[in-house]
């Protein structure tokens, strides 16, 4: 058997680009394999990753959105890339993305707008709010 390892790429995009990029992926016939968020402690950055996969070549393309209130040295935070920046839902393009997006919003507090169906932070019904992301200063209990 010939092993087909496939490409494994991370493509960094801005939040505003997401719907267009997702449309492109859909046109290419790729499947949304997963979407997840990660909290990078050191840089205090929220990262959203959308993975698109090809079922014949086993390629994987990850769209990465970085949201942070802290800018790198000598730079300012780009507009629309702050931690609370709005990210449009892609559940209109990939219907099953809704589960992933609900999860990201409930556990990480990502500000994803217009998810269909919207569980209103009640997917897992946990007591603690956004357990993976430390509370912002001033908001702490």
């Amino acid at each position: 058997m010939n092993a087909t390892e496939g490409k494994n790429e991370i493509i960094r995009i801005s939040p505003a680009e997401l719907p267009i990029r997702a449309m492109e992926m859909k046109e290419k016939g790729l499947r949304l394999s997963q979407a997840c968020a990660a909290w990078v402690k050191k840089e205090e950055r929220l990262e959203l990753s959308y993975s698109f996969v090809d079922d014949t070549t086993y390629d994987i393309f990850n769209l990465r959105i970085e949201l942070s209130d802290k800018a790198a040295e000598g730079e300012t935070v780009k507009e629309g890339c702050g931690r609370d920046a709005e990210v449009a839902s892609i559940s209109g393009i990939y219907p099953y993305a809704a589960f992933y997006e609900n999860e990201m919003r409930e556990l990480f507090g990502a500000n994803i707008k217009v998810i269909d169906p919207d569980y209103h932070n009640k997917l897992y019904r946990i007591k603690e709010e956004t357990p993976f992301v430390p509370k912002k200063e001033g908001e702490a209990k």
Binding site: Y124, R125, I126, K127, E128, P131
Partner: protein, 158 residues
């Protein structure tokens, strides 16, 4: 009523376990381990169950479910906590959504440790549970132990 301990019916509820203990509980009932030789039948109906097997820890969402299942069972009743998660919370004890073992919400009579608990241990736990059940039954017949309704009535009078 006297021979009920020869055929106790078991109900299994999966708290927030990893499935390991659940499939071992099921494996107990299949031919190789055959817990059914003690007259045990796995039922899905809490009204008919005598022994409640709980696997997995308790989290914020399933706490009321476990409590309700326990309340729906008729007296006398016995709770067996299967697996280390149901005993203390186990490997998930530090997780944000886990409150702890099954004894956080309901009284547990028999603890079966193990990750995952082996079928032999589970059968042993059930047999111990039958012993507790027998004791309660005898006490109830003598009138020493009140059942749920009587307890509630007593509570109202007080």
């Amino acid at each position: 009523m006297y021979n009920i301990t020869r055929s106790p019916w078991v109900m299994h509820y999966d708290g927030s376990s990893c499935n390991g203990c659940d499939i071992e509980v099921l494996a107990c009932l299949t031919p190789v381990y055959d817990a059914e030789r003690f007259g045990i039948i796995n039922t899905g109906d809490p009204m008919q169950a005598d022994i409640l097997l709980v696997t997995g820890g308790i989290n914020t969402q399933n706490a009321p479910v476990v409590k309700q299942l326990y309340d729906q069972m008729s007296d006398p009743k016995v709770v067996v906590a299967v697996g280390v998660c149901a005993c203390t919370g186990g490997v998930f004890k530090d997780c944000y959504n886990i409150l702890g073992g099954a004894d956080q919400v309901i009284p547990v009579d028999v603890y079966v440790p193990g990750c995952a608990a082996r079928p032999q241990a589970i059968i042993d736990g059930i047999v111990k549970g039958i012993g507790v059940f027998q004791e309660r039954l005898e006490k109830m017949e003598k009138g020493e132990l009140k059942n749920q309704e009587e307890k509630e009535e007593a509570g109202k009078e007080e």
